[in-house]
């Protein structure tokens, strides 16, 4: 209990004094996860829309695999990305290992199945509604996908926020591919792991509270910007 209280007071102090180190790792956390989020959405939304409107032989299998990949342990993704990006690996020449870019890559791999699965379910439900109309209007495949994505944007936003939550709290993969290097690849979650390992629970909790507050703030801001929960607006 003392630790929790200690953590809270430390958290307030760090934020109140605008601690420079805290600011640096917090901004890096946001940079890595938000970049990964944008890239993942650009991949996941069209994929989900495609799976919703096209009927082809292995569609059910692909959807099942996509759903299953949501449960992929992030640390396994980290290991695989590490092996690929390692100097001894196939993509080693890119020199991406132990940089924020590697962390972004790992997070994109982790987040895409999550966003795609949730988005796909919403788009599929919407497609049930729109199916007769759009087929009758002889709309092209691309137009179908774009119409679905636009009209389902609120649900897609939820999918995105789920991805954000997964990414900002992730520690296993980015620890491996980022290396938790001070001033280069250290983010909130890896810093928490480090402090916990040192037994400095107060500071670890403080960073944890900051992380939670940051996540809530980002969610609130996105909701405010997209004006959800307003009457009669889609």
């Amino acid at each position: 209990m003392v630790d929790l209280w200690d953590g809270l007071t430390q958290a307030f102090w760090l934020v109140f004094t605008l601690d420079a180190e805290l600011a640096e790792i917090a901004i890096r956390s946001l940079y890595v996860t938000l970049t990964a989020l944008v890239i993942a959405s650009v991949i996941a939304f069209p994929l989900a829309a495609f799976l919703a409107v096209r009927r082809f032989r292995y569609r059910r299998v692909i959807i099942a695999v996509l759903n299953a990949l949501m449960g992929l342990p992030p640390v396994v993704v980290g290991l695989i990305v590490y092996v690929l990006l390692s100097r001894s690996g196939p993509l080693g020449v890119l020199g991406l290992l132990f940089t924020p870019t590697a962390m972004i890559v790992a997070q994109v791999v982790i987040i895409v199945p999550l966003i795609a699965s949730i988005a796909h379910q919403s788009l599929r439900d919407l497609w049930q509604e729109y199916h007769d109309l759009l087929i009758s209007m002889n709309v092209t495949q691309m137009q179908k996908m774009r119409t679905l994505i636009w009209d389902a944007r609120r649900a897609l936003l939820t999918a995105t926020l789920a991805g954000f939550g997964r990414g900002i709290g992730e520690v296993g993969a980015i620890m491996i591919v980022g290396g938790n290097i001070d001033n280069v690849t250290r983010v909130l979650t890896t810093a928490i792991a480090l402090e916990t390992g040192k037994g400095a629970f107060g500071l670890a909790l403080a960073l944890g509270f900051v992380l939670i507050a940051l996540t809530i703030a980002v969610n609130l801001m996105i909701h405010w910007l997209s004006q959800t929960e307003r009457e009669g607006r889609w």
């Binding site: 919407l126 007769d132 087929i135 009758s136 209007m137 889609w234």
Partner: protein, 237 residues
Amino acid sequence: MTALFPLIVSGAETHRRGKVLVGPVDLQLGGEGATVIIGPNGSGKTTLLSLLHGTARLHAGTITWQQPADVARAAQSFVFQRPVMLRRSVLENVAYPLLMRGVRRTKALAVAQEWVARVGLGQMPERAASLLSGGEQQKLALARAFIIEPQVVFLDEPCAALDGRSTREIEAILQDQKAHGTRLILSTHDIGQARRLADDVVFMRGGLVHETAPAAQFFDAPHTDAARAFLNGDIVE
């Protein structure tokens, strides 16, 4: 303007799970006025409309327009019994077909505005379409169907779920469009509506076309017993 017609249907059939749903159907439809398909529930009216429009699969026979298939498709619209609303405003719903055809947004919205007014929804262009009443939604669907200036519009029991006032307003719009030269092919189980709108009648029963005739002839002196019974108000299977 009538380049699509005559529409020649020969031996057309559609199946479901190996059983014949509708057909074989032989029909010839000319390019003028309104054809009303009537018959008891379950006789296959909706399926026939879908077949003619091209959204139901043709398992046997032919359906031939006088133009290539893609040209024909682009000149048609379909109005469903229960209208499908896009999750957008009234105006955007009506403008949607134009936008899909590449019309510039400002122009599409302007044309849509005219149509919205014409069908009597001029007071609410920005409202979310899903919040409209049944009658209002169907009027929106009509505007959306007519905005592309199709040569033929299919309508599947357009007033089935509507009250008298909405039905009257919608029939007025249909009469107006018919007068402008748009070919209407619609189904209904309301004999009164058929009388009001039809120039010729197709009577269906059990998945087959039982009788076809010009309207006046059909209503005064139907040839078949089933048609006579149906017009009488008896239950026909």
